[in-house]
């Protein structure tokens, strides 16, 4: 006891003399976390917003972001972060991946991550190799979308549901694939023939797309077209694209909507009452965990894949429509979730 007191006194005086405080590991200096966003703005009610929320929630980092007004901003934004001394640079979105990889190869000491892409270095012939300081953050959103498809098929009164995307990116079509297969699974189980408008995994060329992630009017036109064809549940995959449609549908009561990425219930100003659920992709959580890894010096370039099992993707609560979803359907969906996690049900 006495000995340890003495030791403490020595340590304390040493600290005083050298003027260096011995800080506990948990209070280590925060890392500089920098987000290079995709086009669409930081308040896109979708992946930019989700990523930024995750970065801000990270307690081990000081976060900042730069928006992009077009793809021409990607490279200079990343360069800006390199010059600023960012320790972890996260590219938000598939489209920015190539620029992240370029920058990572030129700056091997900086850690990088990219949302929605494996972040590999690919040549013109599509031969790819991993880059040690780029961590890909990808998501098996089709697992959660599969549940949403099954749910929609079970909830549809007209026997028709619909989905469409912003642009035919793989990260968009994976939602639509999962959704369509979920409906198909319902049909197989129940011997029904619920139809999916707007997407057929076997014939991707015929899929319905807005063409971008900003033309909300066109998205509204597409949604209304599907309603006229009899669809009563619609899943628009494209961030904020579906917002005017959700607002319109709340008035017309013609169809229910499903949101994507972040739970729409907290984001939508109008349309909450017809929001069936959200196919959630936890981009924010994945960024938070990479930041924690970097702070704890445990970072590796190994890809992160969000699944139902690791809660990287999920199906949001039914919120206002909770009472409308039959208990039997709810339990079937829960079973599907467990089967997917257990690996006994394949979604693709």
């Amino acid at each position: 006891m006495k000995k340890s007191l003495k030791l403490m006194a020595v340590v304390a005086s040493l600290t005083l003399i050298t003027g260096v405080a011995v800080a506990p590991a948990s209070q280590a200096a925060k890392i500089k976390l920098c987000l290079a966003l995709d086009t669409g703005g930081v308040d896109d009610r979708s992946f930019n917003q989700g990523a930024w929320a995750g970065a801000q929630a990270s307690t081990v980092s000081n976060a900042e972001y730069l928006p992009a007004s077009s793809s021409a901003d990607f490279a200079p934004n990343i360069k800006k972060f390199v010059d600023k001394g960012c320790e972890l640079i996260v590219g938000v979105g598939f489209a920015i991946s190539a620029e992240i990889v370029k920058s990572a190869k030129a700056n091997p000491k900086i850690k990088y991550a990219v949302v929605d892409d494996a972040g590999q270095d690919c040549d013109a012939n599509w031969n790819c190799s991993a880059v040690p300081n780029v961590k890909g953050l990808t998501f098996q959103t089709d697992e959660a979308a599969f549940m949403a498809g099954y749910l929609s098929a079970g909830m549809s009164k007209t026997g028709k549901v619909a989905t469409y995307g912003g642009a035919p990116y793989p990260t968009v079509t994976i939602f639509m694939d999962g959704f369509a297969r979920g409906v198909a699974y319902y049909n197989k189980q129940k011997g029904k023939s619920v139809k999916v408008l707007g997407w057929d995994p076997a014939n991707p060329k015929a899929g319905t797309f807005v063409g971008n992630f900003s033309d909300q009017n066109k998205a509204l036109t597409i949604s209304k077209g599907f309603e006229q064809q009899g669809a009563d549940i619609i899943l628009p995959v494209g961030g904020n694209l579906g917002a005017p449609y959700a607002a319109a549908s709340e008035k017309s009561k013609k169809s229910l909507t499903i949101w994507v990425d972040s739970d729409g219930y907290g984001l939508l100003t109008a349309g909450k009452s017809i929001l069936l659920t959200t196919v959630v992709k936890e981009i924010g959580a994945s960024i938070k965990s990479v930041a924690a890894d970097v702070a704890a010096k445990k970072y590796s370039g190994k890809s992160y894949v969000g699944t139902l099992a690791n809660k990287g993707v999920s199906l949001a609560p039914y919120h206002d429509l909770n009472s409308k979803v039959p208990a039997k359907l709810k339990s079937e969906i829960l079973k599907i979730k467990n089967d997917i996690i257990a690996g006994t049900l394949k979604v693709n």
Binding site: D83, A124, N125, W126, P168
Partner: protein, 391 residues
């Protein structure tokens, strides 16, 4: 003579200069009152003004650091590295100079070219295709790709000119509609086998070959390339065309009064069609320079807002070639500097859009500027903004 032209220049720069000053003052106010830290001190006026001044000063300092010179970048590097932001300014300004010239030249012939966006897209498509599809020797490849871009866009612009000349359809409506067609056309063409990059399903074309890329001017660390000389050459060409050639005289005559020009024996349809073709070629060259110089690959939003900013740039530059060059450099600087401003002071990048809009607002309202500064007379070419509509 010299003195005369100097005072003329002074008169010419007065309105844009004062508008610029007003816009920056107002933007400063917005920066100050949107800062929570500044607002917190509102109870004590002295502290409030001090912190507001600091916020605005820091923001504008960052704007300068991000667009011209940043001493922080020289640490551990050569002094020249500090000019990296200037290189970024010029890279952003280069396509804007070309699209700006396109709009400016149309103004001079009494046409309102809203179609620089679509023409830019066609220029980018043409240049990209020749850039990645063919293997040509150094030098020739760049020329061929740039020419292809300019040609595609000249045809695209020429269609508008021809339609207006033959049918009297309004060029504003035509160019707006042609922009829509162009932006959906690029989406479609990027899905075709010829344009889709192998292994990808998202809309992005292969990168252009090394030989087709514009040579860099200051080494690999800087993106500045010979595109700026192409743009300056184009500005010189437009100046020469308008002031030293018969064709240019005809352009200006139709711009000043198309009825009188017709009476004087000038073929108005010829002027309209050829103006639109040259305008198209200029904007198309902008697209080509953007693809071959800094982006290297065609994607769906390659055009950004270059075609629309061009209208503002041409207005600010008073539809003069030299003025357009300076206006484009200013816009390039605002865009590049805005990045540093957001990153180091937290003032959102979008504020530079407010500044841009305010500049145009004041230029379009010369009476207001005159009133604010108590000026008797302002040599105004405000008619510029309205004349185009009469064609």
């Amino acid at each position: 003579m010299m003195r005369n032209s100097l005072s003329k220049f002074g008169q010419g720069i007065k309105l844009p200069g004062l508008s610029f000053l007003l816009a920056f003052t107002l933007t400063g106010l917005i920066i100050a009152i949107s800062d929570a830290k500044v607002l917190a001190k509102i109870s004590s006026p002295f502290e409030f003004i001090k912190s507001a001044g600091a916020a605005v000063g820091n923001a504008y300092l960052a704007l300068f650091q991000g667009s011209v010179f940043d001493v922080n970048l020289t640490k551990g590097h050569s002094f020249l590295q500090g000019f990296y932001p200037l290189s970024e300014t010029i890279v952003t300004a280069t396509p804007l100079i070309l699209t700006g010239l396109s709009v400016a030249l149309a103004f001079k012939s009494g046409l309102f070219n809203i179609g620089a966006q679509g023409q830019f897209i066609f220029g980018a498509i043409g240049a990209s295709y020749v850039g990645f599809h063919f293997q040509l020797p150094i030098g020739i490849h760049i020329l061929a790709a740039a020419f292809a871009g300019a040609l595609c866009a000249a045809i695209w612009g020429g269609i508008v000119g021809l339609l207006k000349a033959k049918t009297g359809a309004h060029e504003v409506i035509l160019t707006i509609m042609m922009n829509y067609i162009a932006s959906y056309f690029i989406l479609w063409i990027l899905k075709t086998k010829q344009f889709l990059r192998p292994g990808r399903i998202d809309p992005i074309a292969p990168e252009v070959n090394e030989n087709a890329r514009l040579p860099l001017l200051a080494g690999d660390n800087f993106r500045i390339n010979i595109g700026i000389f192409i743009a300056l050459g184009a500005a010189l060409f437009v100046w020469w065309l308008l002031t030293k050639t018969t064709v240019g005289f005809k352009f200006r005559a139709v711009g000043a009064n198309s009825q009188a020009a017709r009476t004087a024996g000038i073929s108005v349809p010829f002027v309209i069609t050829s103006t639109m073709m040259i305008c198209g070629a200029l904007a198309g060259l902008g697209g080509a320079v953007h693809v071959l110089g800094s982006e290297h690959a065609l994607n769906a939003d390659i055009a950004g807002s270059f075609g629309f900013d061009a209208i503002t740039v041409a207005l600010l530059g008073r539809a003069q070639p030299l003025g357009t060059v300076f206006a484009a450099l200013l816009f390039g600087a605002l865009h590049a500097g805005g990045r540093t401003m957001q990153s180091s002071t937290g003032v959102p990048l979008d504020i530079v859009l407010v500044t841009q809009a305010l500049i145009v607002l004041f230029i379009a309202a010369p009476t207001f500027v005159r009133y604010i500064f108590r000026l008797k007379k302002l040599n105004s070419s405000a008619s510029l903004t309205s004349k185009g509509w009469n064609g």
